[in-house]
Structure formats: C-alpha cells, structure tokens
Amino acid sequence: MEIFGFPPQLILGQVLIGLINGSFYALLSLGLAIIFGLLRVINFAHGALYMMGAFAAWMTQAWLGLNFWAALVIAPLAVGLFGLVVERAFLRSIYHLDHLYGLLLTFGIALLIEGMYRYWFGAAGKPFTTPDVFRGIWDLGFVIVPKYRGFVVLASLVTCLAVWLLIERTRLGSYLRAATENPDLVSCFGINVSLLTASAYVLGAALAGLSGVLAAPIYQVTPLMGTNLIIVVFAVVVTGGMGSLSGAIITGYGMGVIEGLTKVFYPAASSVVIFVVMALMLLLRPAGLFGKEA
C-alpha cells in the first residue's frame, strides 16, 4: 500500500518526527503567548533566550561539570533570572508606550545577546551530547526514533499541559488575564500587578530556556540557533491566533507535523510551508485559528 507513492510507514514516521519539531514550536509559542498576553510585547528576544538556554546547558556541563538533569533545572532558572533583569531594566519602562516599541526593544536585545555570544563563544558553537540514558534508538518498526527525542516530546507535552493548567485553571490565570486587559484596575483590587508582569516574563523566558536545554543534544549549540527559528514561531503564533494558550500549543504541534509531511511530499516547499499555511489562515480567518476577534 502506498499513499501518493509513499509507503505509509514513512508517512507515519514523518508525523512522529514532525511532532518532535512541533514540541519546540509549542514550547516556544506558548512562552511567547504568555508574555504577549500579559505584557502585550512580542518578545523578539525569544529566540535569543532559547539559545541562552542551550548555552546555559553547555556551561553547566563544561564549566560546572554537572549532568543533563542538573542542566534541565539550572538553565531555565538562569534564563528566567536573565528575563527578570530584562523585564525590570527595560521592558517595565515601556509598557505605557505603543506595543510596537516592545517589539523593537526586544529585537535590539536579541541582536545584542546574539552578538555577544558570538563574540564570546564563536559562531560554530559548542559540543553537547545526548545524555547517556537516552543514547540509542527505539525501532518502532515503521520508524526509528532516537530515545532522546521520545523524551523531548514527553517533556514538552508535560510542560505545556502543566503551564496551561497553571494559567487556565487557577486564580493566577484569571489574574493574568484580567491584568492583561486593565492592569490599573487589577492593582486596585490589591493584586501586585508589577510582580505578576515580571513573573509572566520570567515564566516565558524560562520556557524558552527549557526549550533550549532540550534542544542542546539535538541541534548544534550555536549563537544563531534561535535566530531563524523565531520567525517560524512567529508564523505559528499568527496562525494559531494570539487569543489562547491552547491555540499556541496545538498550532505548535500541528505545524510541526505539517512541516514534517511536506519534507516527504514536496521537500522544495518545506521551508515555506509554514508561511503558506499562515497566509491561507489570514485569508480564511484573519484572527487566526483560535483567535478571539473575528
């Protein structure tokens, strides 16, 4: 049996592989959506934070001699801490301005961070190998999945779900959503909005950092690893619509799969397929798949 001249195993395999890429898209767009939700800032520095996460993982290994699990904890914390500094030092003083300034500021921050990292660590990057427990592959018959990638999908799903529950199903979530709309009023109810805002950025940054650590064993750890990714994630976010976190997550995985399948059926289009899907979505539903306004 074949589908369009391709064996179904290959297609199933690609769906699975696509899910892995989708894991990164989902984690990153979730972080973007959280930051956007509360700060109304499109965090252009997200790719740079992702890269910092990967480098932080390398540093915990190379400088501190710690293992992958330690990196998995330390790196998101470190990136989150950096996020805190960025939020306090820069973003905080531009909330009252047009939201585009947030985009421009974080664009500058991204250039600066990536420039510095290239200066310090070189453009070719640093080695980081798969943790020993995850060495090797699972042969599922129809596809071979490196064990580590299985772990990535799992880790991403668990994280996305946990964050989603945290925000949608707790009081914190309604604080976040309300503060998005009218921060002054929320603070009049006795809620510390500036703390809330900072936490949102820290959370988003930490998620980016976590994706970075997860990526380090798969992708070469280089200062530019986040640069091109971020634009794709933007397209994912636009397609999903900025309205909902679940939108960000679902579209993230979905786009990963679509991209994976394109690589089999029509590889020449695989670099643009996500943008094409975005364009189609804009034609059909300008607010995005899960967007609220329409």
């Binding site: 956007f36 939201h99 421009l104 943008f275």
Partner: protein, 326 residues
C-alpha cells in the same frame, strides 16, 4: 508645514551635490538608496501607522529584478528600474493584501513571516545564483545619454531619481489621499463609518511603499552591479526599522538622517574594532529607551522649543512618540 521643510531640504540637496568632493560617490549612492528605502518604509510607519518588518522583500525584489533585466535581458537602465518597481509593487500588493487584514504587532509579525518566505523563494530560485548573486551587470546609458559607468554620472543619476522619488512621497503624504491615511490611523472605525474602506487605502499605501522600496533596491543593484541575498534577509528589514527609529518616526527627513547615520556607522564600524551587531543592537535599545524621537525629531523639537511653546494638556508631540500606531 511645507515652509518648515524647504530650508532643510534645500540645504540637504546642496550638501549632496558637493558631497562627492569629499566622499566616494559609490558610498554616497549606497546612502541614497538606504535613504529611499527608509523613506518608503516610513511612508507606512509614519503616515499609516503600520510597521512592516518584511520590507527587505521589496528592496531585494527590486534589486534582483533590476539585475535580471540589466544582466540577462540587457534592458536600458530606466526600463530595468521601471521593471523592478513594477514587480515590487505587484509583490507588495499580494503581501499587502494578506497583511493589512491585521494591525499593530500582528501586522509586523505577518510581514516578517511573509518576508522570510520571499527570502526562501529567492534562495531556491535558480536565477538568483544563490550566494554568488546575480553578476555581470553593465548599467549602460541612462535615458540613452548618461553614461553610468562614470561614477559621478551614476551618482547624479541616482541623486536625481531619489530626489524625484522623495518629491513623490511628499506629494502623497501631503495629498488628500494622505489626509485619509492620517484619519484612518487616528480612528479606523470612524473612518469606516464615514464610508471609507480602510483596507483599500492601506493596501494602496502598502503597494506604493513596496514600489518605492523596489526602486531603492533597483538603484542599488544598478550602482553596485550586483544583487545578492543579503538584500532580502530579515536582518535588512530590521536595519531599515533601525534607520527610521534613529532618524525619527513621524518626521519627513527622519528616515534620510537615519539612513545616513546607520549607513555611515556600518562603514565606520567596519574598520574599527567594535563588533557591529552588538553596536546596532545597543543602538536599538538606546533609541527605544531614551531617544524615541530620533535625531530629526529631537532637532525639530529643539527648534520648536525656541519658538513660543504651545501648551496643551496632552501635548500631541509627546503623544506621537508614545504611540506609533493607534
């Protein structure tokens, strides 16, 4: 309005006419191309309130199309430029059609993404020659008379074309059409209720801006005799944003000043020990944090401060800098 610009514009023109005595014509040409590119970008940002983060797509298209026409079809330079403008405008209409459905940050993200898509298309298209670019351009004679292989003739041709383009931008901004653009930026639902179709106006402005960006790219390709992928990258889109930000959003000459500063800075940084991306990143941060009016905006408000100041409760000047779009 017009009065206040006559002197600076004249001064600038005079300076540009004598500049080749001091600077390399080719370097000046680059600045002019950037200035036109920035003005095209600013037409959207400053007057329609739309921040396009994918304008390199049009700049690059202009460059590739002009290069293609000159190198492979041996068209006359003016025809090659027209071709570049036409294709960029068409691309602008398509991208604009998709993008103007959303506003603000969404618009910025969408243009960025579509711009990146255009980059990939050029990357893969065989005619662009990948990393080597389109080469072998001989610019020929402009309008059949001006020999463009002479650097000075080339410079003055580019100067004339850009000056005309600037005049056109000025005309559009200061036309009844420009008035409606301003109104749409101020209050879109109100404009709709007055019977205007904002999508159409924004699309017209977008297409126009794309056409001008294409002209800038075409001029650059014609002058440098090469068209490369660099002109289509999103970094280029980011650079034009930076130029406008540095120069000053909302001032007619801002983009020109910004383009000159950034173009000059790049050249200077090239021979200094400072890492260029870090400096540009820092410039971005600095402009957003402390210097939102940009150079031209600051100069303007300094000049106005000397004149008796109008004090209204909410000063429009400060409002304009807090707000790029409504």
């Amino acid at each position: 309005m017009l009065r206040s610009h006559v002197l600076p514009v004249l001064a600038l023109l005079v300076l540009l006419c004598i500049a080749p005595l001091v600077f390399y014509p080719i370097f000046l040409i680059k600045l002019l191309c950037f200035a036109l590119f920035a003005a095209a970008f600013h037409l959207l940002l400053g007057y329609v309130g739309l921040l396009s983060f994918g304008h390199a797509a049009f700049f690059g298209t202009g460059a590739y199309m002009c290069a293609q026409a000159l190198a492979r079809w041996n068209l006359a330079p003016e025809l090659a430029l027209l071709f570049a403008v036409a294709v960029s405008a068409a691309l602008g209409a398509v991208i604009g059609f998709l993008a103007v459905r959303r506003q603000g940050i969404y618009f910025a993200m969408i243009t960025l993404a579509l711009g990146q898509m255009v980059y990939f298309i050029y990357l893969q298209a065989p005619f662009t020659g990948g990393e080597d670019g389109i080469r072998g351009i001989t610019p020929g004679h402009f309008l059949g008379v001006v020999d463009l292989s002479n650097p000075l003739a080339l410079y003055f041709t580019v100067l004339a074309v850009t000056t005309l383009a600037f005049a056109l931008v000025w005309r559009i901004v200061q036309s009844p059409f420009g008035m409606i653009l301003e109104a749409i930026r101020e209050n879109e639902p109100r404009a709709i209720s007055l019977g205007y179709n904002p999508t159409l106006y924004k699309l017209a402005a977008f297409t126009f801006s794309a056409a001008l960006a294409g002209l800038a790219g075409g001029l650059k390709a014609m002058s440098f005799q090469i068209a490369t992928l660099v002109d289509v990258t999103w970094q280029m889109s980011g650079e034009v944003v930076l130029m406008t930000l540095v120069g000053g959003i909302g001032t007619f000459l801002g983009p020109v000043v910004g383009a000159f500063i950034i173009g000059g800075l790049e050249q200077y940084l090239a021979q200094s020990a400072l890492p260029a991306p870090v400096i540009l990143g820092a410039a971005f941060i600095l402009c957003v944090m402390l210097f939102r009016k940009g150079v031209a905006g600051t100069a303007k408000s300094l000049l106005q401060n000397r004149a008796p100041k109008r004090s209204t409760p909410d000063n429009p000047e400060t409002q304009a800098t807090n707000r790029i779009v409504k």
